[in-house]
Subunit: 464 residues, 2 copies
């Protein structure tokens, strides 16, 4: 009668198949305004289904307004319901950003920014998570505070105090979905009234890309072995400056005390705010941890940290210590974007911190990265003796400079085709000054792969 073909093996219910078919007939003007539908009895008989099934289909169409009915009479098609013909647009580029695919298996993975999870006590963490699941109350599973789970904010305040000497009020600590999000929110809050952001050059691509996507103007300020060359920051129209003072990304330098003071003084004078990204200063292999810029000028600094490097990235917990005058704008933005982090991870992390499991845990990755770093440095000395290791002994990667060479995308690609993943520093810089500099992460790479990996790198260099 209506040409309906039922597919009884389909996951779509029969009544929905019927209504979909009729809907299409109406939309494509095969049934037009005023046309009567078959009675439920007739259509049910034709299709070999129950009348209830057909009624359901009709009710669906009726409640969507495709058909009308008057008491006692048959359903009829409503007025004004046909769809103009449409040619489908060509689909856009659908590939994911940042998801790398390798034709060749990577045997020597010197990527930066990835922790070595062999050092993470998943058993202990999972036990804690199971305990949390037993004790969490349904009331906690509703919406929470956009600032974060209160016990976690207190636990981070205590952790910052005992490990970095940072005295921050728990109410000024805002939990975020990783440090990237904290930086993104800080930029939103700072740039809301216009005004650019100064960044280091070279700088993490994530920051440059976030600024570009937000249409925030940015000023790339060159870096030397004392960190950002603060005197090069432009005079006007800045709302913020993004810096990595403890371990410049990617070069690894420490922002010197003179520059720190100069930056803080300039921020006050020119009325901009500093975003201090303390992404990996937990790992420092020589000397005690550095004191953050934040401690010099708490009211002028967003201090940003993450647990992606010390615990694991899929946890998605970072935080920002936010100057009070920005609290309102921050919370408002978070509230209208994604509200909050999920509760369970926040509760597990606060227990992990409160019970000092974090303090004990940190010894393992610190020792592991220290050992891997030393292995890497020794291997470099053996295989590529003309490579200079830049920066401070900290974090999860190092930069090497091989004067006279040019490492670019081509070199990266050739290496990857040989199973060796590393990153050319030129990706991160606006100038050609870092074409001779390579980044080697020692988080993801296995300990036993370091020496052969650097051996392979030496061969790739001598071939190029």
């Amino acid at each position: 009668m209506l040409g309906i073909q039922l597919d009884r093996s389909s996951q779509i219910g029969i009544s929905r198949q019927i209504s979909s078919h009729i809907r299409l007939l109406i939309l494509h003007a095969r049934l037009v305004a005023g046309d009567a539908l078959p009675s439920t009895r007739a259509l049910a008989k034709e299709l070999g289904v129950s009348r209830t099934t057909v009624s359901e289909a009709y009710e669906m169409l009726w409640s969507e307004g495709f058909i009308t009915s008057r008491q006692g009479s048959r359903y009829r098609v409503e007025e004004n319901i046909t769809l103009p013909q449409h040619v489908s647009a060509a689909p856009g580029k659908a590939d994911a950003t940042g998801s790398d695919t390798f034709p060749q298996r990577i045997r020597y993975d010197f990527r930066t920014g990835l922790p070595d999870l062999s050092a993470f006590p998943f058993k202990q963490w999972n036990r804690l998570e199971k305990d949390i699941l037993e004790t969490v109350r349904p009331g906690d599973m509703l919406y929470g505070d956009a600032g974060g789970y209160q016990p976690l904010r207190r636990a981070i305040a205590a952790w910052l105090l005992r490990t970095r000497g940072v005295a921050a009020n728990a109410d000024a600590i805002f939990i975020t979905s990783g440090a990237t999000y904290a930086i993104s929110l800080a930029i939103d809050v700072l740039a809301m009234n216009g005004g650019g952001v100064a960044v280091e050059d070279p700088c993490h691509l994530g920051i440059a890309n976030a600024l570009r996507l937000k249409n925030v103007d940015f000023d790339q300020v060159p870096v030397d072995m004392h960190g950002m060359r603060v005197e090069k920051i432009r005079q006007d129209g800045l709302s913020g400056a993004y810096v990595t003072p403890s371990h410049q990304f990617p070069l690894g330098y420490v922002l010197s005390a003179a520059r720190r003071v100069q930056l803080v003084a300039m921020a006050r004078q020119r009325d901009f705010t500093i975003i201090e990204d303390d992404y990996d200063s937990e790992y420092r292999f020589a000397g005690p941890p550095l004191t953050p810029l934040y401690s010099l000028a708490a009211d002028q600094v967003f201090y940003i940290g993450t647990f992606s490097k010390t615990l694991f990235p899929a946890l998605r917990i970072g935080y920002a210590v936010v100057p009070p005058r920005f609290h309102h704008a921050w919370l408002e933005r978070r509230h209208y974007t994604d509200v909050q982090n999920p509760l369970v991870e926040q509760a597990v992390l606060s227990a992990f911190l409160d019970q000092r499991m974090m303090d004990k845990h940190m010894k393992r990755p610190t020792a592991l990265y220290s050992r891997k770093r030393q292995l890497l440095i020794d291997a470099l000395a053996d295989h590529i003796p003309h490579a200079a290791v830049l920066g401070d002994g900290a974090g999860m990667h190092l930069a090497i400079k091989v004067e006279g060479l040019v490492f670019g995308e081509e070199f990266e690609k050739t290496c990857r085709n040989h199973g060796l993943y590393l990153t050319s520093c030129s990706r991160y810089a606006s100038t050609r000054d870092y074409d001779d500099t390579l980044l080697l992460g020692y988080g993801a790479v296995e300990e036993k792969s370091i020496v052969p990996g650097i051996g392979l790198l030496a061969r790739m260099i001598s071939k190029s």
Copy 2:
């Protein structure tokens, strides 16, 4: 010698107390460039601490660049390191957005948007989560796909197919931290080249506020009992239209078929994209679920759903079905904002869907809300017979209109002071047309509180 007062009960280590003190002396020019610090032996003796402790403090200052040393001679203060005096800025408004504080305990909580978690099988969910913790591999705990955990995307595709007849490719389903975030990202992607967004009037405050914070121009289009009055959408400069076709928020109307077709045709003709927020259509108490707009024009619609209402808000999982031409822009934005949702929740939810626990679970809250809604409607008929219940029998709240009355903030406040939480519809509207309309949620309220709550509301109305 330097006026250092140690606090041995402090959580801050002794060497850090020493370095902090000296740092302040330098910053405030009490020690100036070239000044020699005491020898480690002398300072250690004075303070009654070990030389190692003092050495650590000095190394800290040295590595930060506050002091220098030459072989064999004492540490001296570096050049150029004093901080200009600074008067602290007055702290800004620091209160949290959206966190309500009630002077009076709320006994009758008719807030909208909160699910009744008494219907949620936490035991079953937690058991599943524990199983997931046993089986998840460390490799999954690194960074994942900005589009979401692949098995969850597939599970949601299957769920949408079997419950709503929506045929969406798993690769077009993007997991987000709740629906709010999905809407926020859709707006970012649509408005990136300028262009306003049409919204319903009245409309969810979260959407209006998100648009305001993003500086996106919005066009408030009036609503009647057939949903948005599509013909009132302005002619030019639109990049998107945000609608709630299955259950208009807050009035509860269903967008009629004629309007649906009109909206889709207009979107094609004027080249804007529809954001379809299907926030609570899982709960529909009369007739089968409605077919989303998405099914009419998949390439022209962001279809957005959430598990905050069907499971629990602190899960923070929503999703969007995104037209292919926006995939790249979406993934890029997500990648540079917060990367992804945490893994564990995604894995638990995909198991919950795959094992059809979701399908079984949905029966409980559907029955519960149906019962509570009926109780509410009966109580309204008894106590406030002149109140008209608006909209379709769906979702977790209803709107009532009491002709001739004015409900505003004052009325809300008086009610709250009597322990009764409800919302005036005027909050959501740009005109005075909804001053006589109230919203009553039946998610949060306890079943036994519905009748006395409406009794109290009747008394509040007759008093006002």
